[in-house]
Symmetry: C2
């Protein structure tokens, strides 16, 4: 029994069947892990025979069975990087990795990918500059779901063209994780569609490659563990998650170059300050977002209308729930001052004090 429900947990009399009327799997639930562990190991008598090393060996073995050539999109994030390195180990020369520069990437991301994937880990990476194409496709698009569809479709088109030119490829590999699968409602368990993740639901059916998702049963912390086993540098393994549709979902309203620029520069400030303070790896995600609302500021003795940037730093175990980070005011002050001093057009900075739920981690 609980305050909110007459039966918080039930058991079928005479049979080993149990039910709970809450989410034992989310990190907010006290003793949720213990409850699940008791159920699995003490009631179901399951054995602990899963290890990341075993998962790695099994994955490499089963991926090496893939026939033909595999195309893998990398974004600089840990998920796609781990996917590419895993495939590189499994199928070597038959893998082609490609970074599509969508114009929606974080500051300096393309250079970073060239350096650590190409030079340090020996994964061949092709580059496609599709910035103008994405920005063109996004003109006039304001609805968040429509943005995701447009980015997903453009992404798939560019991929397909690259595949036709460089291919043929038989498979398309993606760094989809388990929470994406759940939230897109594609798992066996029923779940409402929270957001259409572009690397899950956004691919059009006409795509002429089969989709391979080697990480689709893993949570983020498990992918990081796998990345470490594969020899990825710590800075990449600890890199914050970045949404599939990129900065398009951190720009509220229509996606313009000017707003992207504000978003990118302000987000870089947030990351830099957290790194300086030794807080980067403590945070799950840390970025700034910007919309169309304009507020009044004062520069010298003159008034000016300008943009308001919202800084968001959250802590999370699995992205299913997330808490806003209780940063020290000194750190917030530093971030705020740097953004208004360094990012042209910004006159006000706010700090997100919403957790998930009721907000989502990404603003759109």
């Amino acid at each position: 029994m609980s305050e909110g429900s007459p039966f918080a947990a039930v058991k079928l009399s005479g049979a080993p069947q149990f039910g709970v009327q809450f989410h034992p799997e989310v990190s907010h639930t006290e003793k949720g892990q213990e409850l699940l562990s008791n159920f699995v190991f003490r009631i179901c008598k399951a054995e602990r025979n899963w290890s990341m090393q075993g998962f790695l060996q099994n994955s490499v073995e089963s991926l090496s069975q893939l026939e033909g050539k595999v195309l893998c999109a990398v974004s600089g994030g840990v998920d796609s990087s781990v996917t590419a390195v895993l495939l590189n180990r499994a199928i070597g020369e038959r893998l082609t990795s490609v970074l599509i520069d969508t114009g929606l990437l974080r500051a300096g991301e393309a250079e970073r990918v060239k350096e650590f994937l190409g030079q340090e880990l020996g994964v061949k990476v092709a580059f496609v500059d599709a910035q103008e194409r994405f920005l063109g496709a996004l003109i006039g698009v304001k609805d968040p779901e429509e943005k995701r569809r447009v980015v997903g479709k453009t992404f798939a088109d560019v991929f397909e063209e690259f595949a036709e030119k460089e291919g043929p490829f038989d498979h398309l590999a993606q760094g989809t994780l388990y929470p994406d699968v759940i939230e897109s409602g594609r798992s066996a368990a029923p779940a409402s569609v929270i957001k259409t993740h572009h690397n899950v639901g956004g691919l059009p059916g006409g795509l002429s490659m089969k989709v391979v998702e080697p990480l689709r049963e893993l949570y983020k912390d498990e992918v990081r563990e796998l990345g470490s086993l594969l020899g990825l540098p710590r800075v990449v393994v600890q890199r914050h998650p970045f949404p599939g549709p990129g900065l398009a979902v951190r720009v509220i309203g229509e996606v313009t170059k000017e707003k992207l620029d504000v978003c990118r520069k302000a987000s870089r400030v947030v990351e830099e300050v957290l790194e300086e303070e030794g807080l980067y790896s403590k945070a799950w995600q840390a970025f700034a977002y910007v919309g169309d609302d304009e507020v009044t500021g004062v520069l010298g003795d003159e008034r000016r209308l300008g943009r308001q940037v919202t800084v968001k730093v959250v802590e999370s175990v699995d992205a299913m729930t997330a808490d806003w980070s209780r940063l020290e005011t000194r750190v917030l002050e530093h971030i705020s001052n740097r953004i208004t001093n360094e990012v042209s057009g910004v006159v006000a900075v706010a700090y997100s004090i919403s957790s998930k739920p009721p907000a989502t981690i990404e603003p759109q």
Copy 2:
């Protein structure tokens, strides 16, 4: 000499003339008060012969010389309340106070005015419900300066109509303060127009009454002192400043009933939490504002687009500069949770971490 300027202070050789290349009068300037005090009392040899009690006596005397009937707009704020009580003492029955309900007032403001001005202090207050008229005039108006002009003009029109019906009145009294006068560029000293305050620059010239501004030489803290001398209740004297154009400048973009409602309810939550925590009088202003940007939230297992509210709590001595309040995270969390739980349509809350400058106190 300072880092930013070769000559921070200058003196004309052979003559008692001094200049400084910074703002000694703003509270951010260290020892600025001491510098001004030294100049006034030690160099100019001025005498301390000004007191609030003296100002009160002089004001009552000079206001009692006003001929004819005086109309005074009250808003519930300390400035207009002090103006009304001062005039009530000076001219008694010849004063008519009126509260225009613009639909842009804080939650419960009209009731509050009836109680403390009417019942406790014996000032007769007439009420005009002009909510629909203001909202109608604001349809389609998005530019902050245009909003101020529309509110100012509608205010003056309603006033004039009231004056014609109840009058004739010879004077219109307003609670304009010295910072408003400076920022509107009407003082003797040159100053850029930062904002058009509706109770200064917004009144059309056709208004058939002479404007009386008994507080135009005072700063806010002085008005509070004067209010205490006049017997205003502590809760009114300590009431935060409220902008002339009301919630119209706390709603970014077009002013709609729905956004006003969000703004009013969220602001009430902010005030209530600060009062509970004993922080209300420490803050200069504390409110929430809302714009048109929509962000994604999650309710139960469903996604929904909703509004983001920005909470702003600032500390200031004179409103010329203002620091964002370093509230405890516990307090921010309480405010955030209450707003998303209690204010329909809001899925995210941010806390303003910008000071003035570069932001202004009001968002528009």
